[in-house]
Assembly symmetry: D2
Homo-oligomer: 142 residues x 4
């Protein structure tokens, strides 16, 4: 890998300018090489009339885990394709998404993301592929 992996503080700084994720309220909890754990504290804004977290909120949570995990290698990347299966209704007050890298080559990388409630039950399964643009992620902490 031409570029070193980068740490959680650099990733947080980079994704601060991802205004939509901040607007929705998704927080970066943990990162590692090819992995990310993010969190959403669910309130009224994120729900539908049945009290469940909305599909768009669940997607934004999963997508943030995907985006962060795909930037941990230190190179910027853009989403090509995502698939999300909605398996169980999400009633919890705190939801997590955990992403892991399944494959990565020079131009493409694929991630698997699970959206979970606090007891750890998997509610949604997300799979996404990025195109690696190749420019280094800005590293304001170095």
């Amino acid at each position: 890998m031409a570029h070193d992996a980068i740490g959680i503080e650099a990733l947080r700084a980079y994704f601060e300018k991802d205004y939509f994720a901040a607007f929705v309220g998704v927080e970066i909890v943990d990162t590692g090489p090819g992995t990310a754990l993010v969190r959403l504290r669910v309130d009224q804004r994120h729900r539908n009339s049945l009290g469940m977290a909305h599909g768009g909120a669940l997607f934004t949570l999963a997508d943030m885990a995907f985006a962060v995990a795909s930037h941990t290698r230190g190179l910027s990347a853009v989403a090509v394709n995502t698939t999300m299966t909605f398996m169980k209704a999400a009633y919890g007050d705190v939801l997590y998404a955990r992403a892991r890298e399944v494959s990565r080559n020079r131009r493409l990388a694929t991630y698997l993301v699970e959206v979970m409630d606090e007891p750890g039950e998997v509610l949604c399964l997300f799979q996404g592929t990025v195109y690696i643009k190749g420019d280094p992620v800005a590293r304001p902490d170095r």
Copy 2:
């Protein structure tokens, strides 16, 4: 079809309680049997650091078109699976998503959604399937 199709005012009333879509700012523009057109006026909240609409905002827009179209038959439904391909960066100030029903049987229905900018260029292609629960959509206008 056991239940009549319902009109745009009933659908707007039904989706008003979809707080996340309202929070993000997605509006219902037009509906018909198995179809929906929705709109997002993009501002700073929806963008990322490069000035493009964020994947979560684009998904929420497409998902709303999908949700509305799948309720036009008058029966409630829940998303089973969605796929979204991100084809072009979304720089416009006004974005639309147009959904059409590709297939529908008693329990499952599938929709194709295009996210477009104002010149009508297709930016994202979304495909989604719902499970039809079978209870009628509340019709407060009747």
Copy 3:
């Protein structure tokens, strides 16, 4: 586009070496810039115990339309991701898949494919993205 589009005879010659498609029996019927129509005459080998065409046969049919359409621009490409929704059981003796290009840039292109029976009813909806490798498709007819 650096390379000219190529014609149906060159595409047939190129895909002759795609032994699996030939083994399954998929034929190229028509091609155009970014489009392809392919056919499968369904017999016992392609069915399951209920007499319907098998998911693998339906996928191979759709995938061939996708592959041919993505090569009509004259550059070789490999599949990155495919999604297929199975909407209706396929009982017909002749099935078609029609692919059209939804988007194409220098490195990625996306196609939408419909699998149809002879009356033209859509049975499956397929969406796929290729990575464009950039080497020209061999053109034995020139």
Copy 4:
């Protein structure tokens, strides 16, 4: 679960009538509650001109693991949607697909499938959802 899980011999008998899988040469290696491992010995018929296993052959392999795993609960089911990401070229002579159940309720169940070569490297990632029809899988060995 109203119906007991069924064993590998009953599943082999049931899938014998899945002529396409037999025609392609996919074999059931192992099954368990919600899981399946299947194998394809790759020969010339399954390859393309570059010597790699064809996308249709890889899909048929993954789809068989998905189908078998979704029948291990003893109830018949039909595919609703599948997604497949092609991550690495498949050059091996023996390929496997391993499916596991991620979620199952009364009507819908979702499976994750990995296609691997003999060293165990993951080549393709497949995700699929079935609709559970509810009729028991025939059990000729009881």
